[in-house]
């Protein structure tokens, strides 16, 4: 059933979106301070400007549409979908003034890519970018990775018809239940622990590599955030290749693994339930996938003699399986090497890894391991049922934070999202191919954008067609929100802007 948005609903949505925008503006204080600390006064001013512009627009939205009304589930979905776009548009303002982007659209591309923790970038001359701007790019990973988790978590609860639904978490303000607050706090707590540990470890590596402490600490923090939040931005144009260090890559893979794990699983393990790590359907699917795909990459390398030697196979092969599967997108080969040097089977393995993605309720993107596991289980169950005597009553179970029954509804929901992802992967690839890119690159880039990975074959560049930039922005946005919120928003807009028919009495 489509709920037509009334004017009051729209005002409510705009009000909350305005709060999002003000929030983004306030966080710009961090790069502002970074710029001042490192004596980059020109870049610091970009953030003062950004704060002023963004906060005033946000406050205007909040003020123009303040309505004390209860949020419902539909509002919450629309606020989430619309809020993500608004927050990205706001975050793009200081980037647009940095001089490192060809246009506001390019800055928006990076802002969306940052918030959705994708990592595709159209930045120009990244190696000369101010620390302040890099701080902001990586902060978008930190905000986006955690923020969307809150939305996704609540969405899952709402779909289950649980006690509290999405709006409580995303609607913020006064109306938050203790449970939701507790969840959100725990998510931030896990993040703080991992990012702090990751920063420390990477800082030690940067010092060993001979970087100055003041540069090293920034690089360590940024890469820790980008790896843990499965983002993929890096402060240098060479991305992870800049450091030329196996040690550095290995530490960041640890963070990627932590980032692709379900926050509920972190909670369970941290409470002391260690067996869950082993029994969980999701970790099993992930472990199985990574092993099979790593083997495929190894076989591919051996067949094409691409990267000879065990160490090369690990650093260029296994590393990318981890990076792609977690949706991080840190890259240790040049974009053009995917086509020229990587070879068929390994290339295919990376495609599958990107499409599959990490765990639900994590910062990773993609279809997600739980859904894949459920779909496989559903198929097995159907085969079993087909061969069993009619009188037999069979119920499939799965283990995910406790034993659960695999009902047809759960299987169908997983299959729906799976189909939406696949359709988006293919559609984006066809559009890329229509723009004249070769099929392999177009598929790779489309999956990378939709699954919020960030590996690139070089299609994504400042000189790519404007239309394709908009397509990828849409894919990153829709993929990160797992389509439902976006589809609700689109449906509502169509319904609300269409001819006015029988309106429900309010």
């Amino acid at each position: 059933m489509w709920l037509r948005l009334r004017l009051d609903d729209m005002r409510l949505i705009v009000h909350y979106v305005g709060l999002f925008v003000v929030g983004v503006g306030l966080v710009m204080a961090v790069p502002l301070v970074t710029g001042l600390l490192y004596g980059e006064y020109d870049a610091a001013l970009d953030y003062l400007l950004g704060m002023g512009v963004v906060c005033s627009i946000g406050a205007l939205l909040v003020n123009a549409c303040s309505r004390p009304e209860n949020l419902n589930h539909t509002h919450a979905l629309a606020i989430t979908a619309f809020g993500w776009l608004a927050a990205s548009s706001a975050a793009a303002v200081p980037l647009a003034f940095s001089g490192n982007y060809g246009s506001y659209l390019d800055a928006l591309f990076d802002a969306v890519s940052g918030f959705t923790t994708s990592g595709l970038t159209v930045v120009v001359d990244l190696d000369h970018m101010a620390h302040a701007h890099n701080m902001w790019r990586h902060l978008t990973h930190l905000i986006g990775g955690q923020g969307i988790v809150v939305a996704a978590l609540s969405l899952a609860v709402g779909l289950r018809g649980g006690g509290f639904s999405l709006y409580l978490a995303e609607g913020r303000d006064e109306r938050i239940l203790p449970n939701v607050l507790h969840t959100v706090r725990f998510i931030w707590y896990v993040t703080a622990v991992y990012v702090a540990l990751g920063t420390l470890a990477l800082f030690a590596v940067t010092l060993y590599l001979g970087m100055s402490p003041e540069r090293g600490v920034l690089h360590a923090f940024w890469i820790a955030v980008a790896a843990y939040d499965t983002g993929g931005f890096a402060p240098q144009s060479l991305n992870a290749m800049y450091y030329h260090s196996f040690l550095f890559e290995t530490v960041s893979v640890f963070l990627m693994l932590a980032g692709m794990m379900n926050f509920n699983l972190h909670a369970q393990v941290w409470r002391g339930d260690r067996i869950e790590l082993w029994k969980n359907l999701e970790t099993r699917v992930l472990a199985f996938n990574i092993m099979v795909l790593s083997a495929l990459v190894a076989i591919g390398f051996a067949a094409t003699e691409a990267f000879s030697g065990p160490l090369a196979a690990v650093r260029k092969g296994a590393y990318h399986v981890f990076s792609a599967h977690s949706g991080t997108g840190h890259q240790t080969v040049y974009s053009s090497q995917w086509a020229t040097d990587f070879g068929g089977p390994a290339f295919a393995a990376i495609l599958i890894a990107m499409a599959a993605g990490g765990a639900v309720s994590s910062t990773a993107g993609g279809i997600k391991a739980l859904r894949l596991g459920l779909i496989v289980r559903s198929v097995i169950q159907q085969v079993k049922e087909a061969t069993a005597p009619r009188s037999a009553l069979m119920r499939a179970r799965y283990h995910h934070l406790g034993e659960r029954f695999l009902t047809p509804e759960i299987g169908a929901a997983a299959a729906t999202v799976f189909i939406l992802y696949m359709v988006t992967y293919v559609t984006g690839a066809l559009i890329g191919a229509a723009y004249g890119y070769d099929a392999g690159s177009a598929i790779f880039e489309s999956i990378s954008a939709t699954a919020n990975v960030g590996l690139s074959t070089g299609v994504t560049s400042p000189t790519m067609p404007t239309g394709l930039k908009i397509v990828y922005i849409t894919q990153m946005w829709a993929g990160r929100l797992e389509f439902i919120a976006v589809l609700v928003l689109v449906g509502q807009l169509i319904m609300s802007l269409g001819p006015q028919r029988s309106r429900r009495a309010a």
């Binding site: 622990v193 693994l257 932590a258 941290w270 002391g272 092993m291 190894a298 296994a318």
Partner: protein, 42 residues
């Protein structure tokens, strides 16, 4: 299990974190090792 739930989720985080890191390390070692050995053999 119910006993754990009564405690704060943060109480045992150190040992939990350690378990996660060790599990990750073991898993990475297996994956890296497998790739290295496969490439070396083939």
């Amino acid at each position: 299990m119910p006993v754990h739930r009564l405690q704060s989720p943060f109480e045992r985080w150190r040992s939990g974190l350690l378990v996660e890191i060790v599990a990750s390390a073991v898993f990475m070692a297996i994956a890296y090792g497998m790739v290295a050995i496969l490439v070396w053999i083939l």
